[in-house]
């Protein structure tokens, strides 16, 4: 018996969301009195053994470049094989782009109940109950998993990573893989940009910015804070910003440590996607903006005056 954690990579590097999944899976293993093992598919640039410090005893690595791009069907078969081999009772994914594609397939293949979007440790005192996000951040549901094998897809930024001591044993896996059917022909990646769902800090702006030409100060503030940029739905609908920046109920749901909302009124649909943020700062010239009710800190003021002052203050703080 063991806990298996899917460790996913981007361009050969282990994703931050995977570190959270490892720490979460290791904690579950500790609760169940068993050990945590990881699985990595495709070629990697990172040295995997040091990831043992996050709590995995072994990492199964299938080093095959055909697995460098995601084909959920092929991945599922391999992960199911390893899970069966090590008798995994709990399988943990990050609920990110890869986890969302693979975990549901694996659930069917192993007839294992899936909780996607988990936000807390399972309660194993009476059954196996996992708290997840529902109604796009407006509520939580406690889901009881009734199968022998359980699969959990952990929301990014929902579990804190802690590093201890230890080195993982690397187990080189050599099993044949099925033919890849989803062929990747092009990648369009904004290099150096912090992925929105993984970002610790997000600087987001809305219609109050008046037009796409005014986003320079938003980007500058984000860069200084090592933050990702985001926007409200009207901004993305008007094509001022790319649609992948849209956060809210019908865009991306995020849970950073700090969410700075500039010129966003805070419609209920927007709040739903961001209200799991640890700290929310709202800058809006309208004191009646509903967003202030959901905020921890706020400034009633014009973004065009406040944001440049924030940039100066952050520069001063960081000594740049």
């Amino acid at each position: 018996m063991s806990v298996l954690i899917f460790i996913d990579t981007a361009e050969g590097h282990v994703k931050k969301a995977s570190l959270e999944a490892i720490c979460y899976g290791a904690k579950i293993a500790e609760q169940l009195g068993t050990s945590a093992e990881g699985i990595v598919l495709g070629t990697v640039k990172d040295d995997l053994a040091p990831f043992g410090k996050f709590g995995v005893k072994k990492i199964h690595h299938l080093n095959n470049e055909l697995l460098d791009h995601l084909d959920a069907q092929v991945y599922t078969k391999v992960i199911a094989d390893i899970a069966e081999k090590i008798v995994a009772k709990v399988i943990v994914f990050s609920n990110n782009v890869d986890g969302k594609a693979i975990a549901p397939r694996l659930s069917v293949r192993l007839k294992a109940g899936l909780v996607s979007g988990a936000v807390a440790m399972p309660d194993i005192s009476n059954g196996f109950i996992v708290k997840k996000n529902v109604f796009s951040g407006k509520a939580f549901a406690n889901i009881s998993v009734n199968t022998d094998i359980k699969i959990i897809a952990l929301n990014p930024n929902a579990y804190k990573t802690t590093a201890g001591e230890g080195t993982a044993e690397i187990v080189v896996v050599n099993i044949p893989i099925d033919p890849v059917k989803v062929k990747v022909t092009g990648v369009n990646k904004t290099s150096g940009e912090v992925p929105l769902t993984e970002a610790e800090i997000v600087v987001s702006a809305g219609r109050g910015m008046k037009g796409p030409e005014n986003w320079g100060m938003i980007e500058e503030l984000a860069k200084l804070l090592h933050a990702a940029t985001a926007c409200s739905r009207p901004v993305s609908d008007a094509h001022w910003r790319p649609h992948n920046e849209h956060v809210g109920q019908t865009g991306t749901a995020i849970a950073p440590s700090l969410y700075i909302a500039i010129g966003i009124s805070g419609a209920i649909q927007h709040l739903a996607g961001v209200n799991r943020s640890k700290v929310i700062v709202v800058i809006n010239k309208d004191p009646e903006a509903p967003f202030f009710k959901a905020a921890d800190y706020g400034i009633v003021g014009d973004a065009f005056e406040v944001v440049p002052k924030m940039i100066e203050a952050v520069k001063k703080l960081k000594g740049v």
């Binding site: 981007a10 069907q73 599922t76 609920n95 782009v97 969302k100 594609a101 549901p104 397939r105 659930s107 069917v108 109940g113 899936l114 909780v115 979007g117 109950i129 708290k131 529902v134 109604f135 796009s136 407006k138 509520a139 939580f140 549901a141 406690n142 889901i143 009881s144 998993v145 199968t147 059917k181 989803v182 062929k183 022909t185 990648v187 369009n188 990646k189 904004t190 940009e193 992925p195 610790e200 800090i201 804070l225 992948n244 849209h246 109920q249 019908t250 440590s257 209920i268 649909q269 700290v279 700062v281 009710k293 921890d296 800190y297 400034i299 003021g301 406040v306 002052k309 203050a313 952050v314």
Partner: protein, 247 residues
């Protein structure tokens, strides 16, 4: 070309979320129901666009739900689509729903199956992947663009910090999100013709669930906002650094 579009009913995006029966059931009192936005705005509209460029395309809609779902499926038919199938059962967990849809899909011989990226109520993002596994088909999730090229689908999908383009032979299951299409409003002609379109009701097949909801919770209320003067922005940055410890 035969397309199956999966349709789910969800509370309106402005609906107040509350629970009854000792926090074990969603309180639907006064709730306005809508088509799940991802199903409507992106998968359904993209299917309609594909039919507009190739009139021989057949669009079938499928939903899992009781007769209360009929107004939603009629609204979807008003937007477009040739006929609808409703599996007559209250939806339970994702595995149960995906299994019911897969039974419909097995009968239909579809080239393409569209789902939304997730529903805005249970946020599982699971039906597409489960369906693909049940049907032993490839799955492309979180599509932001979808094109057909002969017997292939050319799909742009989200990856962390960007997008990638991939090609896959039909049949395939694709989950759609923003970018795939633009929201449309049904016109009078569509609404009138929807009444005459076939809505077939089929009984569910016996499938076990894998999970169950044991209770719901609402998030704790915020303590209240601490306002800082616009003339003292440095104070805000100090609070974020020293009090909140987030920068």
């Amino acid at each position: 070309m035969k397309i199956l579009v999966c349709i789910s009913k969800t509370p309106d995006t402005t609906a107040k979320i509350a629970f009854t029966d000792n926090n074990t059931k969603f309180d639907s009192t006064g709730v306005q129901w809508i088509i799940n936005p991802y199903d409507e705005w992106y998968s359904l509209v993209r299917a309609i666009e594909l039919k507009e460029s190739d009139a021989s395309t057949v669009i079938q809609l499928v939903t899992v739900g009781s007769s209360e779902t009929d107004p939603i499926i009629r609204k979807a038919l008003a937007l477009g689509g040739d006929e609808a199938i409703r599996v007559n059962t209250d939806s339970q967990d994702s595995f149960y729903i995906a299994s019911q849809i897969s039974e419909v899909a097995k009968q239909g011989g579809y080239d393409l199956i569209f789902t939304g990226k997730e529903t805005i109520d249970y946020n599982g993002s699971s039906i597409g992947g489960m369906l693909a596994e049940l049907l032993n088909l490839p799955y492309v999730s979180l599509a932001t663009k979808f094109e057909l090229s002969g017997n292939k689908a050319v799909v742009t999908r989200e990856i962390d910090g960007g997008e990638e383009v991939c090609e896959v032979e039909l049949p395939v299951v694709v989950s759609c999100q923003k970018g795939v299409a633009e929201q449309r409003i049904p016109n009078m002609r569509g609404i009138m013709s929807a009444r005459a379109k076939p809505l077939k009701v089929v009984e569910p097949s016996g499938v076990n669930t894998l999970t169950a909801i044991s209770s719901f919770e609402l998030p704790p209320a915020k303590a209240g906002v601490k306002l800082v003067s616009p003339d003292n922005v440095e104070e805000l940055i100090r609070l974020l650094k020293e009090e909140a410890k987030v920068i």
